[in-house]
Symmetry: C2
């Protein structure tokens, strides 16, 4: 493939598995002219319980793969990878790369009135303290309370988006944050928007839920505008606008993907990511 115009190149988006599709969904909605190449590391999912070194090594391989697909920018659509690997990756490549953490942190900082923000995510994301770092860079007096919720991802992947068991587990994870009196809660894992209604019900109306997926798509749009990479025209008919790659289980991936993205994902290709 050759492109006369860099603006026509696709955006690369990656995640440890299927969660990043909530970010893809937002990009599709907010900047519909953009082509997307998605990679989900379904062979090595989940990242949330893995170490910084491992997540960084995996992310580096994925970035190398995405570069073979001639992407014009990369979105790290995984909170754990954004927390652990983004700083390293930024140094190593010459195209723009953004994560989901900074946009989410920024909006939460603007949203809080009482200065108490909760962050829910994987053990990796919460343990890294990265949301706290970003938030306190903007407003040092803000208190950030993190809570790891390791069962949310398996519950979402089992399809229990609205279920008494998910309610019960969510109650246990969130009660601490309710007691502390946070007024803003960051959904710090790309799976969590799918159980947004459960979380919202438990936290109550007075708590603002921040969805980094939404904020990331907004920031991506601004970035593309600034760097003159924004695609002004829809891709020509017959172009394969959205392409999906995974490291394992294409069938299972597509099933889940089609429950998140209503555009219809026709195919996903398995690649051996360890070769990159």
């Amino acid at each position: 493939m050759e492109y006369k115009d860099r603006r026509e190149l696709p955006i690369g988006v990656f995640d440890s598995g299927v969660g990043g599709l909530t970010v893809v969904r937002e990009i599709m909605r907010q900047i519909p002219n953009e082509k997307i190449v998605y990679f989900g590391d379904t062979a090595r999912v989940p990242y949330g319980s893995k170490s910084k070194d491992t997540v960084t090594r995996y992310s580096r391989q994925i970035v190398r793969f995405l570069q073979t697909q001639q992407v014009k920018a990369i979105v790290v659509a995984c909170n754990t990878a954004s927390a652990y690997a983004l700083d390293e990756l930024e140094k190593e490549i010459d195209i723009p790369i953004i994560g989901v953490v900074k946009p989410g942190a920024k909006v939460a900082t603007e949203a809080t009135r009482n200065g108490r923000i909760g962050v829910i995510g994987t053990a990796g994301t919460v343990g890294s303290g990265i949301y706290t770092t970003y938030i306190q860079q903007i407003r040092p007096e803000v208190e950030v309370i993190g809570k790891a919720c390791p069962l949310f991802v398996p519950l979402v992947e089992e399809g229990l988006w609205q279920d008494p068991v998910t309610d019960e587990i969510a109650m246990r994870y969130l009660s601490e944050l309710i007691d502390i009196g946070i007024d803003t809660l960051i959904l710090g894992c790309t799976h969590y928007p799918l159980i947004r209604s459960t979380v919202g019900k438990i936290m109550g109306e007075h708590v603002t839920l921040v969805n980094p997926a939404y904020e990331t798509a907004r920031e991506l749009k601004e970035l593309l505008m600034e760097q003159e990479l924004f695609n002004p025209m829809p891709p020509s008919l017959g172009t394969n606008k959205y392409r999906f790659f995974v490291s394992d289980g294409a069938q299972r991936f597509m099933q889940f993907a089609n429950s998140i993205i209503k555009y219809g994902i026709l195919s996903a290709k398995v690649i051996n990511i360890e070769e990159y």
Copy 2:
């Protein structure tokens, strides 16, 4: 290290993560003279939702690693890897290798009175139909009913071994098997012995629970005897009898390991398994 006597070499045991420690525990109990080298693929866990190709590739790397540790025999202490990869691995190496599926299948076949056996496990193990194959090789008329239980592993790893949530999820997974009237249930995932009491309570006293970890240690002992590999003497004092390797998160591994094995796991070493 040099050994004058092959019988003094360690047993290699591997699993996708921590579950295989229930097999290690049985080996420690039943053949306490044996040294063990354990590898848990904590960087790429879980295997249960991955494809045959991926699980086989990962297992092959681990076997190569274990061979660098001069093991005299290998135990595949993971149902998914036993289901998908054992046949391949057997062809490729010249030391004895056994999995957990065959010993479990054999005992279940002996135990059933009404000819209806249930198997619970990961999507991979259950989908492979391997328990059915082995059982029907012995008794073709036996009916085998498989049920994938994807949430059991995360619930166990979250420490909810005895918890109303685990009860509720177990009720949902197992009700089908109760309705069918099985009289024998294979705990077809190495994590499941840890929620044996929950499963037993729901299935009732008249259902025999088969723990392949126990049966595998028995079969290993017989195999070592037959092949004159059984270590007749305890290792000399000061020998590092049990050694643990993981592909990620040694600290987290040790915490969990020490909740399963009462011998006290003093250390675990992280290696990069992708290099093997």
